[in-house]
C-alpha cells in the first residue's frame, strides 16, 4: 500500500513539473516528453527514435488519430507525431492546436504489396507512370490538397462496378483525410481516386476494405487484399516485409502537432 502511495506522489510531482515546464520551441525538446502516435504509422517509428530508451515510458500509441489528438487536448501528452496533411486538418477544425514549423522528416508514399508479387507491382508501376505523365495524378492531388473536398461524394468516383476482369481488393484506413475518408457508406480521397484509376486500367472493379492501420501489413501479406494504399510511407524496415510501388507522393512531412498555448514559435 505504501508503494502505491509513493507512486501516486511521484506521479503527482511529475505532472506538476510537466504543467510548469517551459513552452515547446523545437522538435528537439520532444526527446523527453510524453508523445503519441497512431499505431503502426511512421509517426510511431519517429517518436520511438526520438525517445530512445524512454519510449516504453513516454510513448502512447493510439488506434486512431482522433484518440491521439483528444489525449493531446486533455494534456495527457505533449505532442502527436503525425503526417502533415491530417495534422493541418486538425488545426483547421479544432481551436487551440498548432503544428511545429520544423518538420521531423520528409517521406514518400507508395502502395504496398505482398512480398514477391512482382506481376502486380509491375502493372501498377506502369499505370502510375502513365498517370504521372498525363497529369491524372496531379489533378487528383490538386483537387484534394488545394480544393475543398467536403463536397466530393463517393458516388462521384468510378469504382468500375461489374468489371469483367474481377475485383481489385485494396486495404486502407479511412481516417486519413485527404488521402482516404469514409463518407456515408462509401469512400473518398486521393488514394481512393488513384486506386479507382488503377483498377479501371487493370480492367477490374475496385473494392475498398477499411481496417485499422496496424492490420494492413497482415492483410496484404495473407492475401486478404491485393494491395494496401493508405498514405503508407516507404521505410527500409517495411521493405523487408512487403514490396512497394513507385512513390506517388514525395515530400510528405512528418510533423509534431502540439497545443497552441504550449508552443512558442
Amino acid at each position: 500500500m505504501r508503494k502505491v502511495f509513493a507512486l501516486m506522489l511521484v506521479l503527482t510531482l511529475c505532472s506538476c513539473a510537466f504543467a510548469d515546464g517551459e513552452k515547446l520551441k523545437s522538435p528537439s525538446q520532444l526527446k523527453t516528453e510524453r508523445l503519441a502516435a497512431q499505431r503502426g504509422t511512421v509517426g510511431q517509428f519517429i517518436a520511438e527514435d526520438l525517445l530512445g530508451d524512454k519510449k516504453a515510458e513516454l510513448l502512447t500509441t493510439y488506434e486512431k488519430y482522433v484518440d491521439a489528438v483528444a489525449a493531446l487536448r486533455q494534456e495527457k501528452i505533449r505532442a502527436v507525431i503525425m503526417d502533415e496533411m491530417p495534422a493541418k486538418r486538425f488545426v483547421n477544425e479544432i481551436d487551440g492546436l498548432a503544428i511545429m514549423d520544423e518538420a521531423l522528416t520528409e517521406e514518400s508514399y507508395a502502395i504496398g504489396f505482398k512480398k514477391g508479387n512482382a506481376e502486380l507491382v509491375g502493372q501498377v508501376n506502369k499505370i502510375l507512370a502513365e498517370m504521372k505523365a498525363d497529369g491524372t495524378l496531379d489533378a487528383i492531388l490538386k483537387k484534394y490538397i488545394d480544393g475543398d473536398y467536403s463536397s466530393i461524394k463517393p458516388e462521384d468516383i468510378d469504382f468500375n462496378k461489374g468489371a469483367e476482369g474481377g475485383k481489385l481488393y485494396v486495404g486502407t484506413e479511412a481516417g486519413f483525410a485527404p488521402y482516404e475518408l469514409k463518407v456515408g457508406s462509401g469512400f473518398i480521397g486521393i488514394d481512393v481516386e488513384m486506386c479507382a484509376n488503377i483498377a479501371k486500367k487493370l480492367g477490374k472493379e475496385l473494392v475498398i476494405i477499411n481496417m485499422n492501420f496496424d492490420a494492413l501489413p497482415t492483410a496484404v501479406s495473407t492475401g486478404k487484399v491485393d494491395m494496401i494504399c493508405a498514405g503508407i510511407t516507404v521505410t527500409d524496415e517495411r521493405k523487408e516485409n512487403m514490396d512497394f510501388s513507385d512513390n506517388y507522393v514525395t515530400g510528405a512531412k512528418q510533423v509534431a502537432l502540439v497545443r497552441a498555448d504550449d508552443y512558442e514559435k
Partner: protein
C-alpha cells in the same frame, strides 16, 4: 421518464441509485458550464455536424444494422453449437460411453473460453479465412463470434440440464424411453425453459462483444462512431451517442428478458 424508470428491471433501490448518478452527472455538467448559452449553441453545432449534416446518422443506422445482424447470426450458431456440446458432455456423464466426443467437446470449450474473442476473430479472418476474399467479412465475424459464444452457451445448457432432477431421467427410462428420446422429450424441454433468460443474457453480452468487429474491417456500430469521428474530428459526441444506442438496446432486451422470465415461470406457480 418516470414511467420508464419505474418499469426498469430491478426497480426500487437501483432506481434511486440511478437518479443519484443522473443528478450527479447533471451537477458536473452544470459546474463545467454546459448550460450556458454559448456552450449550448456549440453543442448544437457539433451535434449538427456529427449526426445531421449529410445524413451522417445513417452511418450509425447502418452500423447498428450490421451489429444486430452479426449478433443474431452468432446467437443462432452459438445456441446450436452449445446445445450439441452440452448434450455430449451430459450424456457422457450420464452413462453413455462416448469418451472421444466428450474429450473433443471439452477441448473445444477449454480452447474457445480460454482465449480472447478478439484474438479468435483475428485468427479466423487473417489465418483461417485468409484466402476467402469474396466472402462478406460479416459472415466470418458471425462464425467467429458464434463459435466463441457456443462454448459459453454449452456451459449454460449443461447447467440447465443438470438442474433437472435425475429422477426425471430415471422415470423416463423406466417407462421404456431410450436415453436420447428421454433427453429430447423430457429433459431438454424443461432445461430449455430454465436457461432461456441466461441465453438472452449471453445474447446481450454478444451484442457488446461485436464492437471489436471493426478490427477486421466491419463497420459495426462502434466503428461507425469512429468513422464519424474521423469525418468531423470530434471525439466525444459520436462515442457517447454510440454508447447511448448500445445502452438503449441492452435495456430494451433486459426488459424483454424480464417479461419472458415471468411468462416462462407462469406454469410453475
Amino acid at each position: 421518464m418516470t414511467t420508464r424508470s419505474k418499469s426498469y428491471p430491478g426497480a426500487g433501490r437501483g432506481d434511486i441509485l440511478l437518479w443519484l448518478v443522473g443528478a450527479f452527472l447533471l451537477y458536473l455538467l452544470w459546474e463545467s458550464g454546459f448550460f450556458t448559452e454559448a456552450a449550448w449553441s456549440d453543442f448544437n453545432r457539433r451535434f449538427y455536424q456529427n449526426f445531421v449534416k449529410d445524413d451522417r446518422y445513417m452511418m450509425l443506422v447502418d452500423g447498428l444494422k450490421s451489429t444486430i445482424f452479426m449478433t443474431a447470426g452468432a446467437t443462432v450458431i452459438g445456441v446450436i453449437v452449445g446445445l450439441i456440446l452440452s448434450v455430449i458432455r451430459v450424456a457422457h456423464k450420464g452413462g453413455l460411453h462416448i469418451p472421444v466426443l466428450n474429450k473433443l467437446a471439452e477441448t473445444y470449450i477449454t480452447v474457445l473460453r480460454g482465449t480472447p474473442a478478439m484474438v479468435q476473430l483475428l485468427i479466423w479472418n487473417f489465418t483461417i479465412f485468409a484466402s476467402a476474399r469474396d466472402l462478406n467479412t460479416q459472415y466470418i465475424a458471425i462464425l467467429a463470434f458464434g463459435l466463441n459464444s457456443g462454448a459459453y452457451v454449452a456451459e449454460i445448457f449443461r447447467g440447465g440440464i443438470e438442474s433437472i432432477d435425475p429422477g426425471q431421467m430415471e422415470a423416463a427410462r423406466s417407462l421404456g424411453l431410450t436415453y436420447w428420446s428421454s433427453m429430447r422429450h423430457v429433459i431438454l424441454p424443461q432445461a430449455l425453459r430454465n436457461v432461456v433468460p441466461m441465453l438472452f443474457n449471453e445474447f446481450i453480452a454478444l451484442l457488446k462483444e461485436t464492437s471489436i468487429a471493426g478490427y477486421i474491417g466491419i463497420d459495426d456500430l462502434t466503428r461507425a462512431g469512429q468513422n464519424i469521428q474521423a469525418l468531423t474530428l470530434e471525439h466525444s459526441q459520436p462515442l457517447v451517442m454510440v454508447a447511448i444506442i448500445y445502452l438503449v438496446i441492452v435495456l430494451l432486451l433486459t426488459r424483454f428478458v424480464r417479461k419472458l422470465e415471468q411468462w416462462l415461470s407462469r406454469g410453475r406457480r
